[in-house]
Amino acid sequence: MKKRPYLRIILYIAFLVAMYLILTWLGKGAKIPFSLYHNKAIDKTPAHIIHMEKIGEWEFLSIRDEELVDTVKKHFFRPGDQLARIYSGTLRLGINFDQCDSLWATYLGDSAILSLPAIDLLDQNFIDEARSRSFFERGEWSAEEREEMYQRAQTRMKARCLTPENKKRAEENARTQLEALFRTMGYRVVEITIAPSSSQP
């Protein structure tokens, strides 16, 4: 005979419901005799460091951006599936010292002459999915569809934030900050040349 594990549970629940009804009927003032419990906390698992490396990125402007990305799948006979997520990311604009040549800073008496690369996005990986949140969900969504939404949020954020205005603002702040820093170090004249940024986001 075939074993039916779910039958046992159904019978068990039916028994509890029957007991509850009997006790209520007898006027005993019975409370609900069962409750369902499930945990919401994640398990304890180890975290592995993939790499820890030296970098030299000087950030002069940060743009925190949130984008609502919405996607819909239409069906013929039933309501369409819909997923809306709010992606959160911080785009950091600045100078990467890896792109500087060895003579990016030269000194002549009380003058410091700085020749810096263009202001650019410091890290292409800027979306914080842990801070992104679900807004609306109906239906089932595949990993490919979720990945596609992530990519779309990334493209959209870059288009909105990497504007010539923001790059110019970052460049102006770079000049202000570096001039102040080198004046603090004792240089009265600070000449700063920053390579022009590309217009592409």
Partner: protein, 229 residues
């Protein structure tokens, strides 16, 4: 009786036909949209010196339990078909930086050919986190629904928070101090100072970071990471 059988059969055929059509219509008719919600711009002066990529598999084991008491007898029974599990692999990028926005004359001291620079202590920030969607696995029992997008987002957030809690064990602050010194030393040397005439210290400790950095303990971990999204 025969007419009832024909009716049931025709209904089944009709339903199957409709279901096939529904599957076909799923592929081409998707619509996408993006909307800007918030954009906050702020001027900074932060020197990021260390990057750390951490991988974690966030797991959640959700056993549905039937608990209660009946006629004074307590019971706690795990429902075999009410179990569900999920594994979410995440990659988290942490970066340590020195904030130069409040750096001024008070941080630089020159005396007898020596230069002593006091830097603010490194701070750590989560700059990115990414779910490996294609590697997510979930198993759902007969009595349970699949994990929702909202639940998965919550587990991802909890995973990042647990990584932040384990930060002191990673030695990121110590590495950030060493890297900051390594980055700044050549710049100061080009100003005309001998390597052994340069002293770099950090505000929150008294240990000196000289050309060959010495091991240091402690440090401040400042994370602007919200506990709630």
């Amino acid at each position: 009786m025969r007419s009832i059988k024909y009716f049931v059969l025709s209904t089944l055929l009709c339903t199957t036909a409709c279901r096939q059509k529904e599957n076909i219509s799923e592929v081409p008719t998707s619509q996408d949209d993006t909307t800007l919600l918030i954009q906050r711009i702020s001027e900074q002066s932060r020197l990021y010196t260390t990057e750390c990529l951490v991988h974690k598999i966030v797991t959640h084991d959700d056993v549905l339990r039937l608990q209660g008491s009946i006629l004074g007898m307590k019971y706690d029974h795990a429902l075999d078909l009410g179990d569900r599990k999920i594994a979410i692999p995440i990659d988290v990028t942490l970066k340590a930086y020195i904030d130069f926005s409040s750096f001024d004359e008070g941080n630089v001291e020159k005396k007898d050919g020596f230069i002593h620079i006091t830097l603010p202590d490194p701070e750590v920030e989560v700059t990115a986190s990414k779910v490996e969607h294609k590697q997510v696995r979930q198993y759902t029992g007969f009595l349970r629904s699949r994990y929702s997008d909202s639940e998965m987002s919550d587990f991802t957030r909890q995973g990042v928070e647990s990584i932040i809690q384990s930060l002191p064990e990673m030695g990121l602050i110590q590495k950030a101090r060493e890297n900051a010194a390594t980055l700044l030393m050549p710049i100061i040397q080009r100003m005309g100072y001998e390597a052994d005439h340069i002293v770099i210290t950090f505000r929150n400790d008294l240990e000196k970071t000289s050309p060959v950095p010495t091991p240091m303990e402690g440090g401040t971990i400042l994370l602007n990471y919200p506990t709630q999204p």
